[in-house]
């Protein structure tokens, strides 16, 4: 049998988590008439890192963006199925997507600090959501967020300087600090280290490992080694379908599906 022709009928492995922070069931995503995600079901385990991997165009980023309704901004995009955060439907009509995005934060591939000072970048979310009562409280939020993002010591003497003046790795940690500042429950990361050098990448990965103590994390990455290093669960997407999901330790030593095997070992398929 030609392995490339093998049909993906059902996800293999285990999609369930004992302690699920988010549960997605039978999610379909359409861009106009074109279906980008086909019947994906999975759990994001609380306080753990779930890596979404797969070739370009497999739908992993589209899927990630459904988790905090980033796709709402695309007119032709339509999401169906059940997407739950702590048992609550995140696509419910009465739910304000802005509030959802405070609970489910996102970090992007390219560091995208606002053209503002380091301080204001971090304070921004807390200000618009009205999370603090006075300047002292806001200072506190900015400092602890920068500390959690492992950036405070490097920038404490220049909080008033523009965030865009930092190095790429520092900018990415600034964006993480900005995300943390609004006390999210889940952090989505879309290739957070792909524009960074190995040292900055290692720092971000170390940070992810620490952040999972407080937050539930889903990360899309093109680097298989990165997925293997930072995640506890790995989901492999192919052509808009979830092929396999399981413990990272199993996926990288003995994947069950041939397509997963082909992808992580760099074979044709």
């Amino acid at each position: 049998m030609n392995i490339q022709d093998e049909e993906i009928t059902q996800t293999v492995g285990n999609i369930y988590a004992d302690n699920a922070k988010m549960s997605i069931r039978s999610a379909d995503v359409f861009y106009g008439d074109k279906q980008a995600i086909h019947n994906v079901s999975l759990d994001l385990a609380k306080n753990q890192v779930t890596a979404l991997i797969g070739p370009s165009g497999c739908g992993k980023s589209t899927f990630l963006r459904c988790l905090n309704r980033m796709n709402d901004t695309i007119d032709i995009c339509r999401v169906t199925g059940q997407l739950m955060l702590d048992g609550e439907d995140i696509y419910a009509k009465e739910l304000d997507p802005v509030l959802l995005r405070a609970r489910v934060g996102m970090v992007f591939q390219k560091p995208n600090p606002f053209p503002k000072s380091i301080y204001d970048n971090v304070a921004y979310g807390a200000r618009i959501h009205g999370l603090t009562n006075n300047k002292a409280e806001l200072d506190e939020v900015v400092e602890t967020s920068l500390q959690k993002a492992g950036l405070f010591d490097e920038v404490k003497d220049r909080l008033k300087e523009p965030g865009t003046g930092l190095s790429g790795g520092q900018q990415q940690r600034l964006c993480i600090a900005r995300t943390i500042a609004v006390s999210p429950e889940v952090i989505l990361m879309d290739e957070p280290a792909s524009a960074l050098d190995p040292i900055a990448t290692a720092i971000i990965e170390e940070l992810i490992d620490e952040l999972k103590e407080k937050y539930t994390i889903a990360i899309v990455t093109h680097s298989m080694q990165q997925a293997a290093r930072v995640s506890q669960h790995t989901a492999y997407f192919h052509l808009g379908k979830l092929v396999e999901m399981g413990k990272t330790e199993d996926i990288f030593t003995r994947p069950s599906h041939k397509l997963t095997e082909n992808y992580i070992t760099g074979r044709f398929g």
Partner: protein, 261 residues
């Protein structure tokens, strides 16, 4: 003995497009260079296997035929086995560092690193046969043509040799069914070893002057029995490689159950 000679000479060539390559999809990487590197590892391991098989064969013949010259050759060639172990180890280290293999590729490298340790130990046991052969050739045992212990040793030796040959073919073909059969039959080798031991103990009690030589034959039998154990290990790596299940220290029933899972 000539029987297995004909098989082992073909081990590397016969399987040039073997189960090893096809079952493990070694030729399907996007990187052609990586395909070549893994193929090179396969070739080296099969060559080492062939060499070790030859060594065991020669070691056994040296003992049985009191052939001091052959024995010396075996002892000398053990160095070649050691060199191959180092070479393959280095090759695997390079692949780990440069390719960061995953899944079946990772299992391949891990099992090869372990397999060559077992092959190298088999080489050491073959050299032991050689050293004992030299001492036995100078003793009176060899003159006792057709003595019971030597006949038994010959049986055990042929059995061990045949099993090793089968294991190497199973390795070349990544044949799990054949590997399981060999693991299952390791008991027979152990039984044969026990029989020889009993026989030699009796001989020693009957004739204390023969103790020295009887012990040497015991050590030869022991070496062969150890080679049998290492052969079983090779077969366990085949199961690990193909099925992804670590079946060391398991009974044959447990292994079969693990594979079915």
């Amino acid at each position: 003995m000539t029987e297995s000679n004909t098989t082992d000479n073909n081990l590397t060539n016969k399987n040039s497009v073997s189960g090893f390559t096809t079952k493990l999809y070694l030729d399907k990487h996007i990187s052609r260079r990586f395909n070549e590197e893994l193929e090179q590892i396969r070739t080296l391991v099969m060559q080492m296997g062939e060499l070790v098989e030859q060594q065991v064969n020669d070691g056994l013949n040296a003992v049985l035929n009191a052939d001091e010259k052959l024995a010396k050759k075996v002892i000398q060639r053990d160095q070649e086995v050691n060199t191959m172990e180092l070479e393959i180890d280095e090759y695997c280290t390079q692949i780990l560092a440069r390719r960061q293999p995953a899944a079946s590729d990772l299992r391949l490298i891990v099992s090869v690193v372990k397999s060559i340790t077992d092959l190298e130990r088999m080489g050491d046991e073959a050299a032991k046969l050689g050293r004992n052969a030299i001492k036995l050739a100078r003793g009176s045992f060899a003159e006792e043509e057709g003595s019971r212990p030597l006949v038994e040793l010959k049986h055990l030796g042929h059995h061990v040799n045949k099993t090793l040959n089968q294991a190497l073919i199973a390795y070349a073909q990544m044949d799990v069914a054949a590997a399981l059969e060999i693991i299952k039959n390791d008991d027979i080798i152990d039984e044969e070893f026990d029989n020889i031991s009993r026989l030699l103990v009796t001989k020693m009690m009957e004739n204390p002057r023969e103790i020295k030589n009887s012990l040497r034959v015991t050590w030869c039998a022991r070496a062969l029995e150890r080679i049998g154990d290492h052969t079983t290990n090779l077969c366990e790596y085949i199961v690990y490689l193909v099925e992804g299940k670590d079946v060391r220290h398991s009974s044959i029933e447990q292994i079969k159950a693990a594979i079915k899972e």
